[in-house]
Amino acid sequence: MHPAYSVIIFTTISGAGYGLLTLAALGMAFGLLPVSPSFMIVLLGISIALVTIGLFSSMTHLGHPERAWRAVSQWRSSWLSREGLFALLTYIPTGLLGLSYIFEIGVELRPILGLAAAILAMITVYCTGMIYASLKTIRAWYQPLTTPIYVVLSLLSGALLLLCLLAVGGEHSGLLVKFAIILCALSLLLKLAYWKKIDEAPYDYTVQQALGFPDAIKIAQVEPAHTQANFVMREMGYKVARSNSAKLRKLMVMLGFVVPFLCLAGVILMPVQMVPLMVILLLSHSVGLMVERWLFFAEAEHVVNLYY
């Protein structure tokens, strides 16, 4: 599958934004995040900004972005529509929460609003994962691990972002550090399981099946349907070479999980300069996350390639 950079940016930035929102809102709701109201406003503002930038970025890959408002209408059947709907719904409790802090009203409503914002944010990320996991045509994605990985990575990137922002604000949460370490380990395990699955499972469909001939028949292409690449070939025909994907996987694991894990372990074990460490950790993870998303697309094969 061709990795569309607008979609890569959308899912990573929005994922981090939703993760940040979820953890900040839940932390506040359960009294685990003792930050000042103005800091809370900053956290909410950053998460909304990230989500919004991500959503606008995703609109740039559309042929008619001006009609994008129609995309929330088919929530009965389409995961993409459901994602759009829940993305919009998430703005409501988040916005109300922000207003509650800015105008210093409705203090007793904040836990409920925070809980609502967190739940809606996670549902949105779940819907995003399901868009890919529901496609029968792409064997790598059509499996139970796809959506959990999306959700866990969103929480991980949100957690690391939150830790970084807390450090910049002179705050610290030991609980969050431990949570982030667990998420690092969990993400790594899930990702390794995902790669094992897509590497080992034999390809489900053969070119014989694609054309409807018995498996015993040998098939070779004699005349391609067209001399130049067409949309289908460009969109679905991209596949990263095995050797390159192996290198990229290692890079992704190093930057996305191992470096953050080591940094966080360092934070627990010894007194360190938090801000520079957190910034390094965040930058490393961000690059790793982009590589992960790129590989997610580039390692996925679409069944239509059998016809070519």
Binding site: R67, Q74, L135, A210, G212, K218, V304
Partner: protein
Amino acid sequence: MTTLPDKTDKKLGLVIDLDTCVGCQGCVTSCKEWNTSGYSAPLTDLDPYGKDPTGAWLNRVHGFEITDADASRTVHFPRSCLHCEEPDCVTVCPTGASYKRAEDGIVLVNPDTCIGCKLCSWACPYGAREYDMSHGVMKKCTLCVDRIYNENLDPEDRQPACVRACPTGARHFGDIGDADSDVSKLVAERGGYNLLEEFGYKPVNKYLPPRKKRDHVTAKPVALEEVGTGTDGSMSERFFAWADKMLSN
């Protein structure tokens, strides 16, 4: 609406004969020509005379060499939308632009509401949907919905352009849901099959498999009866024999 109709009144579709298709690309060209105007047209061509032409086509024909125990042969494989009964390409559409008509089962894209997100093309295992870069919407075989009901055309032209253009009669159009229709009888007689049934999309278009190749026994012609080869010596016979000899050189 992208929820599928429970049932459709008719199941219009194509039957494609892989035995008689010769890969002339006539169906491909006539489809492209018909769709320079009409529903969701025009199909664009970018840089058509340049180094890297690209464009949207709704029907494409591949050529494969197949080899089984006996021998090899060339099979030409036309590929276009199969107007499935339960296609994911309709249900994944977020705007409702992709829909299946309840009256005849034709799957269409509404070019006024499509946002060009391309998700439907990801859901289609047959590669039937293409993104038109110039128009910004998805395009696919319309089963010539603007021809088949068109009173402005002669009755014999009220079929898909590809069916009309095929010189070997490899394409047939009709109601595959009606067991008494000509196409249904053809499918039953030739063992027409569905493509990639495992997906559960229930394709309506059927493909007719290549007929079994004739071998040295079945390919032998019936021996002709002996006919008299001698002349009767008459003037006209000898004249014609001479003329034949002269003209044969």
